[in-house]
């Protein structure tokens, strides 16, 4: 009997929380909605066109124009390739290094970690020129996938993320594994990685989205139409005399679609993975 009012007030709280969340969601989703609605309204040849929030008529014409005028499939392929490779390298190397920094005590780990982290604090604008000189003048790698991938193959931010995440995993299991005389890599591969799945899924999504949205570096380093990523392609996609707003939004939607698909497909796996972390105690 006693639990009744408590349960009711909890339900009330949940309802309020739900409403608040819903409002916030609507607020933040507006740009996406605008993008979608804009891509479905025909707006040919008008610079000043702004889509109506509630469209009168829908049309796929902007998509037709976008695909007809661009090498969009090739750009999507490039983005997919680059982002996939970057996701694999980042997840693997960042979790390896993050694990080492968090759980393996070795001389100099503090110093090395701080040197890595402090370079994150230098704005990209000034390192662009030296990096460009290195990549183009020294290594002669302009207009290649390698050049797009290498500088962010494993980002310091991701190592930091993994270090933080790994440090919340139970140390006791590692000790147990060590007593069982497992090699360190085997411990990492067999014990840590499975434990860290939720973190890895998060890292994978973040890396994929970030590399997919990366614009400036691929833009600088590629020059042929065939090597552009979708973001670079979108930016270069300028129509004749005026910007075709509808086709631009169609492009933006096409550019965002693969990420949504990836996100929703990882989402399920990601929810399963959460319980695995709860062994500590």
């Amino acid at each position: 009997m006693q639990s009744h009012p408590q349960a009711r007030s909890r339900n009330m709280l949940l309802a309020v929380a739900g409403v608040l969340l819903l409002l916030w969601t609507i607020l933040t989703i507006i740009p996406l909605y605008w993008m979608l609605v804009g891509s479905l309204q025909d707006s040919a040849a008008s610079a000043s066109f702004r889509p109506a929030m509630i469209p009168e008529a829908l049309s796929l014409a902007p998509y037709e124009r976008f695909f007809a005028k661009t090498a969009a499939w090739r750009w999507l392929f490039n983005s997919l390739l680059v982002s996939s490779v970057l996701t694999v390298t980042n997840v693997f190397f960042a979790s390896l290094a993050g694990y080492a920094f968090a759980k393996l005590k070795f001389p100099g780990s503090n110093a090395i970690f701080w040197i890595l982290l402090s370079t994150m604090m230098i704005p990209a604008q000034v390192t662009l020129i030296p990096l460009y000189i290195l990549m183009v003048n020294t290594l002669q790698l302009q207009d290649t996938y390698t050049a797009i991938i290498l500088p962010t193959a494993v980002s310091v931010g991701n190592i930091f993320l993994m270090k933080q995440y790994m440090s919340s995993l139970p140390t006791s299991l590692i000790h147990a594994a060590r007593i069982d005389a497992c090699g360190e890599f085997r411990i990492f591969w067999r014990v840590i990685l499975p434990l860290a799945k939720p973190g890895l899924a998060v890292l994978a999504i973040f890396t994929f989205v970030a590399s997919w949205n990366e614009f400036f570096w691929p833009f600088l380093i590629t020059s042929s139409t065939d090597m552009r990523t979708i973001q670079v392609g979108l930016a270069s996609f300028v129509f004749a005399e005026s910007t075709d707003f509808g086709a631009m939004m169609a492009g933006a939607t096409i550019g965002a679609l693969p990420m949504m698909i990836l996100f929703f497909s990882l989402q399920r796996y990601f929810l399963q993975g959460i319980t695995i972390g709860a062994v500590k105690g």
Binding site: A100, T119, L134, V202
Partner: protein
């Protein structure tokens, strides 16, 4: 971080040393190598540049002139002030918003959780350009602007949001508050899911209150995540550039000129790469100091 500060010395012989630590070094080898070539080398070059008048065909060494020039520049100090104001106004509020949203979502049933996580993360997939187009429409200074129409309903006169010194920076802050918190929410939720139920059950047995459970169990275990969000939040907010570039170009009257925007201007509008490098290193120093303070404040009881 702190607790690893005093690693055991390898007792004797390098063989033993490598047996004990070799793996750790091997684990960080690839990232460190990539880092040396593609990050440290450009950073070092930029550092050298900060003492030069940069020229493609041969730079001239000018010692501390760039730094001196920078210190004497009013705009530089104004940009520091703006950046600090922006950071103080956005980072803590954003973390609070993120935490509250994540906490609310955590109370939901599985399906609702999935829905909110997905929808709140989705805005991250929209490109910066799309978002700025929408926000420019929201801040439209005429009576037809979304925000001004809303104010009109409340009987308030239209505001020239981005056009006057008094509201421009605030407008960018507002835009940042309402931006995407999806990434932070997902991180918090992952950590919240990682908190063992047994701890709560044990607390229930002790008749601990909701607040005690939060303060004693939830919050301490979420500290690494909070620290991560704080440090990365500060780094990105100290380097805020895109929204300034797309929305206000630093104006009006330098009201929204941040250091990162000033560095961009110095480098790409005035071709003063040496000076831009000098500004960057001052910015980096500032962020490093703030980050170290945070690590100090947080790491006392964070488990590593």
């Amino acid at each position: 971080m702190q607790t690893t500060a005093s690693p055991k010395r390898a007792p004797s012989g390098s063989g033993r040393f490598w047996r004990e630590y070799g793996w750790a070094y091997l684990f960080i080898l690839a990232p460190v190598l990539l880092f040396l070539v593609f990050t440290l080398y450009p950073v070092a070059s930029a550092f050298v540049m900060s003492f030069q008048q940069y020229q493609v065909m041969g730079s001239t060494w000018i010692g501390f002139d760039n730094y001196k020039h920078m210190i004497g520049d009013d705009v530089f100090w104004k940009s520091i002030r703006n950046t600090v104001v922006f950071t103080i106004a956005t980072v803590p509020v954003n973390i609070l918003i993120t935490f509250v949203l994540a906490y609310l979502i955590f109370q939901m049933k599985n399906k609702a959780q999935t829905f909110f996580k997905a929808t709140l993360y989705l805005p991250a997939v929209a490109s910066g350009v799309t978002i700025s187009v929408v926000w420019l429409a929201i801040f439209d200074p005429t009576d037809s602007g979304l925000l001004n129409r809303f104010l009109g309903l409340l009987g308030i006169d239209p505001v020239i949001w981005l056009g006057q010194s008094s509201t421009a920076l605030f407008s960018l802050i507002l835009m940042n508050w309402l931006g995407s918190h999806g990434a932070g929410i997902i991180l918090y939720l992952a950590s919240m899911g990682g908190v063992p139920k047994s701890l709560y059950e044990a607390a229930d047995i002790d008749h601990a209150s909701g607040w005690t459970k939060f303060a004693r169990i939830t919050w301490p275990l979420l500290k690494p995540t909070t620290l991560y969000l704080l440090v990365t939040g500060i780094i990105t907010s100290f380097q805020v550039f895109i929204s300034v570039y797309l929305m206000t170009q630093g104006g009006p009257n330098f009201a929204t000129t941040t250091i990162a925007y000033l560095i961009y201007q110095t480098a790409f509008q005035f071709y003063e790469f040496g000076l831009a490098s000098a500004q960057s290193f001052v910015l980096a120093l500032l962020i490093i100091i703030v980050s170290v303070l945070q690590f100090k404040a947080f790491s006392s009881d964070v488990e590593y």
